[in-house]
């Protein structure tokens, strides 16, 4: 517009270099931690570095990964969803009830069950989001309420008993290991993560999720409705709880009203370890996947090392706290680099 001002003084860290450093600190850090932990257990724990154990880990992280994917959306907007564990329980009994309906062919029953799970989960999530935005109640409280309500509903639906007798083809698919190394349920988890990654990274919707978590008032004054995105994030979290319920059915073959107890905490831990900030606006879903892996590798590795069930939670708890401390440092480093 006018005469050019003096050029910027050349500086020690160029923008592209800063971008690379940013990547290293934000994403590669967690990945590096995963690699180090894996190497540690491979060297020290018997049977850890065997194909069989790797398969087992893949199978075991599937449920948590799916839950954590949806949780990432909620935490990115600055909320929290404590209800996913019991919503999962509700969905397992709903799904199992539909699936064992004798009058339906297996294919139809399975499809309907999947839809029922997703619809139930999404409905619970929508309620969470709608109530907390409509009456401006912290999501912590609302989802705590939902945790209890969904658990109760699961008991009502199942008449307080486990539901068995799922179609054989369904059970078979759950046990399937594609190509001898890829368990079908892990594939489901990876697909959910991939979908979440795509949405957060490339879509307008994903951009808005980050923006709302960063400063929802600025978003509102820019002519948007931040509540819409918050409700959507909770709905997604409910939806993934429904999908996770299907994964649960595939893996354990029973619908149970007492399934999923404490799952919400594992999901939150995976998200936080993966580098998503509890205050919203910052994080990545790939980090969440890595976070879920770290949790499971630790748990399995400690078990193989013979660390008793009493000590295991202590170690895992310490790791979670450590992750949050590291996150604070990471923030400070990132601020210097941007």
């Amino acid at each position: 517009m006018s005469e050019t001002s003096e050029p910027l003084v050349s500086a020690p860290v160029s923008p592209s270099r800063a971008k690379f450093l940013r990547f290293l600190i934000r994403d590669a850090g967690v990945l590096l931690a995963l690699v180090l932990i894996t190497l540690f257990f491979s060297a020290s724990a018997p049977y850890f570095a065997t194909p069989g154990n790797a398969l087992k880990i893949f199978v075991q992280i599937a449920i948590n990964t799916v839950l954590a994917a949806g949780m990432t959306f909620v935490i990115l907007t600055g909320g929290i969803d404590l209800s996913v564990g019991s919503v999962l329980a509700l969905c397992t009994v709903v799904g199992a009830t539909v699936m064992i309906d004798e009058s339906l062919s297996p294919a139809v029953a399975i499809t309907l069950a999947l839809l029922a799970c997703m619809a139930t989960g999404a409905a619970c999530g929508f309620l969470n989001g709608w109530i907390s935005t409509r009456w401006k109640i912290p999501s912590f409280i609302v989802t705590l309420g939902m945790l209890n309500m969904a658990a109760g509903a699961a008991r009502v639906v199942s008449d307080n008993s486990t539901i068995t007798g799922l179609p054989q083809s369904f059970v078979d698919f759950g046990n399937l290991i594609i190509g001898g190394f890829l368990p079908s349920i892990f594939l489901v988890a990876v697909l959910v993560i991939a979908a979440g990654w795509f949405v957060l990274r490339f879509t307008v919707f994903g951009r808005m999720i980050f923006a709302v978590g960063t400063n929802d008032e600025a978003v509102r004054l820019s002519g948007h409705n931040p509540d819409f995105y918050k409700v959507a994030a909770f709905t997604i979290s409910g939806l993934t709880a429904g999908i996770a319920a299907m994964v649960y059915l595939l893996r354990l073959n029973i619908g149970s009203p007492i399934a999923g107890v404490g799952y919400e905490l594992n999901a939150i831990a995976a998200v936080i370890i993966g580098g998503t900030s509890l205050s919203g606006g910052k994080g990545s879903i790939i980090g969440t996947l890595v976070g879920a892996c770290i949790l499971q590798v630790l748990s399995t590795g400690l078990q193989l090392l013979g660390v008793g069930d009493n000590f295991k939670p202590i170690v895992i708890g310490l790791v979670i706290v450590l992750a949050v401390i590291l996150d604070a440092y990471r923030e400070r480093l990132l601020r210097r680099i941007r």
Partner: protein, 502 residues
């Protein structure tokens, strides 16, 4: 000035951020008891210099001595212990606490068992507020205040402690003449008591009243330190930007306002406020003047749907429209640039480009997917037009200098390109060169038949820019002055009107 007389001296100080050398080889000595002005373009390094003194950043090179001893503050607390008080450019109050609590946070009056003595707290707060001329209940929560009021609270907070060195980083950016007058009186009083003051401003006319010497920074380097006496505004500008710039305002008389673009009638915010009416035409720049707290910002926010309103009709191009939330306003072609850029305008942790496109992502996306290339191109274009100084458009806005952040807020609404723009303090903290570019841009918008409402605490700016000025006083519109009758005294006396009347 002899060195032994110096209270603060910097030797070869440098500070580097990734992509930017914020300060390089700055040597400066501040004499005890002087009022030292620091000037420079946006991003010149003024605030960085202050943050080194505050213990927020540590220098990468050079040394600082304070009171004859080496000075290496690691935290803001260290700085306070040494007797240095700083009012930062960005406001740092705790929104959910009361004014009184914010003022006395570090030194709450206590009774037995550590219980806060509310009475003493509010009494002392009241006295402090009175000193800066903010007549408001100290129990009010800070989040309900306007930016200028927050600024006054920050100043009062700094005054509540005895300090040897008081630093004010753009304290007057949002203030109107009476508060500025009062602030200057305070500065003179402190000076008489022997307090040393460092003062940063982009309002070049005001610094002559209080300053002894001036230091000018450009691109992180020290250009000169001079006696202010005998210098003129053009001298300062030349040193700041290395060239002369023409007359600050170039009112373009060829732009003739057309039909009414936006009209507001009987807008009532709540039962206690009077109803107000005004309108702006296509191709017109309407100025909105008034003192701090006179209800200008609140009226604009209510009109835009940012705050609830009780009553009132908003018409756009003669058609009444229902606005209950900002999204309605934006859909009907309104923009509101808010005065509080940090709290309401910016996504501080997101990049420059993402901040700009947030107002209209549809423009740079297809089928719900963001087209990063189009986004970068659009952002780069605006960043160039407004000369935003950033290491790249992917830099987080948090790390831009204050004036450059302000330009990003403006850019985001220019990106949306609505037919009517409400700009609340659009040039807050923007340097004189960039300000001129913004003025020209506003003229271009007016020439393109956009309606522009410009709220500003800078009266000369309004008088230079506007076709018409409406004046607020105590939530009421007390007068409308056409360009032919512009007169600073007249506008000011209108602004005072409702306050002096019993």
């Amino acid at each position: 000035m002899p060195m032994d007389d110096a209270i603060l001296s910097l030797q070869g100080v440098g500070k580097i951020f990734p992509g930017v050398v914020a300060l390089s080889d700055v040597s400066l000595s501040i004499a005890r008891g002087e009022t030292h002005i620091v000037l420079g373009e946006n991003g010149a390094g003024k605030s960085t210099l202050i943050k080194l003194l505050a213990g927020i950043y540590q220098p990468d090179a050079g040394t600082i001595a304070f009171n004859g001893a080496p000075y290496q503050p690691k935290t803001p607390h260290d700085a306070q212990q040494s007797g240095i008080r700083i009012v930062h450019q960005e406001l740092n109050l705790l929104p959910y606490l009361s004014i009184a609590e914010n003022l006395m946070l570090e030194n709450l009056p206590r009774r037995a068992f550590g219980i806060v003595d509310r009475k003493a707290l509010n009494r002392r707060a009241m006295a402090l507020l009175k000193e800066v001329g903010l007549e408001i209940d100290p129990r009010t929560r800070v989040e309900t205040l306007g930016v200028a009021q927050m600024q006054l609270v920050e100043i009062a907070k700094a005054l509540s402690y005895d300090s040897k060195l008081l630093v004010l980083d753009e304290p007057t950016a949002t203030l109107t003449p009476p508060e500025i007058k009062r602030l200057f009186a305070i500065i003179k009083r402190l000076k008489a008591k022997g307090v040393t003051i460092i003062y940063i401003s982009h309002r070049l006319h005001e610094v002559f009243e209080i300053g002894d010497r001036v230091t000018i920074l450009r691109n992180g380097r020290l250009v000169a330190t001079r006696d202010l006496h005998g210098l003129s505004v053009p001298d300062l500008v030349r040193m700041m930007i290395g060239r002369d710039i023409a007359d600050e305002f170039s009112f373009d008389a060829s732009i003739v306002p057309g039909k009414v673009a936006l009209s507001v009638s009987n807008l009532k915010r709540n039962a206690a406020t009077p109803a107000i009416s005004f309108d702006v035409r296509h191709g017109e720049i309407l100025g909105v003047a008034g003192l701090v707290g006179s209800g200008r910002t609140e009226a604009m926010r209510a009109l835009f749907g940012a705050d609830p309103k009780l009553d009132g009709v908003v018409e756009i191009d003669g058609r009444p429209v229902a606005i209950t939330a900002p999204k309605d306003a934006v859909r009907h072609g309104l923009s509101l640039l808010t005065e509080d850029r940090k709290g309401q305008g910016l996504l501080l942790d997101l990049a420059v480009d993402k901040n700009i496109t947030i107002t209209d992502l549809g423009k740079v996306s297809r089928h719900g997917l963001v087209n990063r290339r189009a986004e970068s191109a659009a952002a780069t274009d605006l960043v160039g037009q407004l000369r935003v100084k950033a290491s790249s458009i992917e830099q987080a806005v948090r790390n831009l200098s204050g004036g450059n952040q302000q330009k990003v807020v403006l850019a985001k609404w220019l990106f949306r390109g609505t037919s009517t723009l409400i700009l609340d303090e659009p040039t807050r903290g923007v340097d004189i060169g960039a300000r001129r570019e913004i003025y020209q841009l506003l003229w271009m918008l007016a020439a393109a038949q956009k309606g522009i409402i410009m709220v500003s605490s800078d009266l000369p700016e309004l008088m230079g820019m506007c076709h018409r000025i409406i004046v607020f006083s105590k939530d009421r519109i007390v007068g409308e002055v056409p360009r032919s009758a512009f007169d600073q005294e007249r506008i000011l006396s209108l602004a005072y009107q409702e306050y002096v009347r019993p």
